[in-house]
């Protein structure tokens, strides 16, 4: 077995099934999100981040399946097939694009860490919205498990979630 095999096989894990934090902040379980659509996992399993920065970055290499024209949410499909929804704030669809700037569009190929959305979390909060960012796996049923790492402060790019076939 060569040196590189050893590195890639360490822990026996395929990193294409790992997602990283799209934003700095504190990671919390979905059950603590004050919206039953997320808390009851209607959209899928995942976690949420209470953001402390204002840019959403890609959690994986993949394609933007849908950039909502309001910029308040984005759907991505990872190169390994994970369907991911990142929703910036709760009920923020009703802001109709105010305080959000789309940095990528539907159909764009992205690399892990590429900036996708810029948002003004202070202004969004000032208007009375919860700025929590749920990250959910829309095709949860395709996986035997979705493991999340919560309860910590995270930096953009830190590992937060992994799925198993």
């Amino acid at each position: 077995m060569g040196f590189f095999n050893k590195i890639f096989k360490s822990g026996g894990e395929d990193l294409s099934y790992v997602l990283t934090a799209p934003v700095d902040g504190k990671s919390i379980p979905l059950s603590e999100v004050a919206d039953p659509t997320f808390a009851d996992e209607i959209l899928g399993k995942g976690l949420a981040i209470i953001p402390s920065s204002n840019v959403i970055s890609s959690p994986c290499d993949g394609t933007i399946d849908l950039m909502f024209d309001t910029g308040h949410a984005v759907n991505l499909i990872s190169d390994s097939g994970i369907e991911i929804l990142i929703h910036v704030g709760l009920e923020t669809v009703s802001l109709k694009g105010k305080h959000f700037k789309r940095l990528k569009e539907t159909g764009d190929k992205v690399k892990k860490g590429d900036p996708l959305i810029e948002f003004d979390r202070e202004e969004i909060a000032k208007e009375g919205f919860d700025t929590v960012v749920p990250i959910v796996i829309c095709n949860t049923d395709s996986y035997s498990s979705v493991k999340v790492e919560t309860g910590d402060s995270v930096k953009t790019g830190d590992r937060i979630l992994s799925v198993e076939k």
Partner: protein
């Protein structure tokens, strides 16, 4: 196959949450259910969350819902009422 047309009244259209509750509603339904906005030439499997969201259905869009399968009769009434109540 049974179909009905529905004009979306919700001013925000079928965004993430409504797409989620629709897919949830259809889990357990045996029939194939598709939604189509003919004017935009788009259609989707209504049981697939990302596909439904990608339709980006807006207020005023006419959605054609098609239900085909062994439970289509009971599902038809149920889903039509669901659209009227939620969208």
């Amino acid at each position: 196959m049974k179909t009905f047309d529905y004009t979306v009244k919700d001013e925000l259209g079928i965004h993430a949450r409504p797409a989620g509750i629709l897919v949830k509603k259809l889990s357990g339904v045996k029939s194939n259910v598709t939604i189509e906005v003919k004017e935009k030439g788009k259609s989707a499997d209504a049981k697939r969350l990302m596909a439904v969201m990608k339709m980006a259905v807006k207020q005023g869009d006419v959605v054609t819902v098609s239900i085909e399968g062994e439970d289509e009769d009971s599902v038809f009434e149920d889903i039509r009422e669901f659209f009227e109540t939620n969208f």
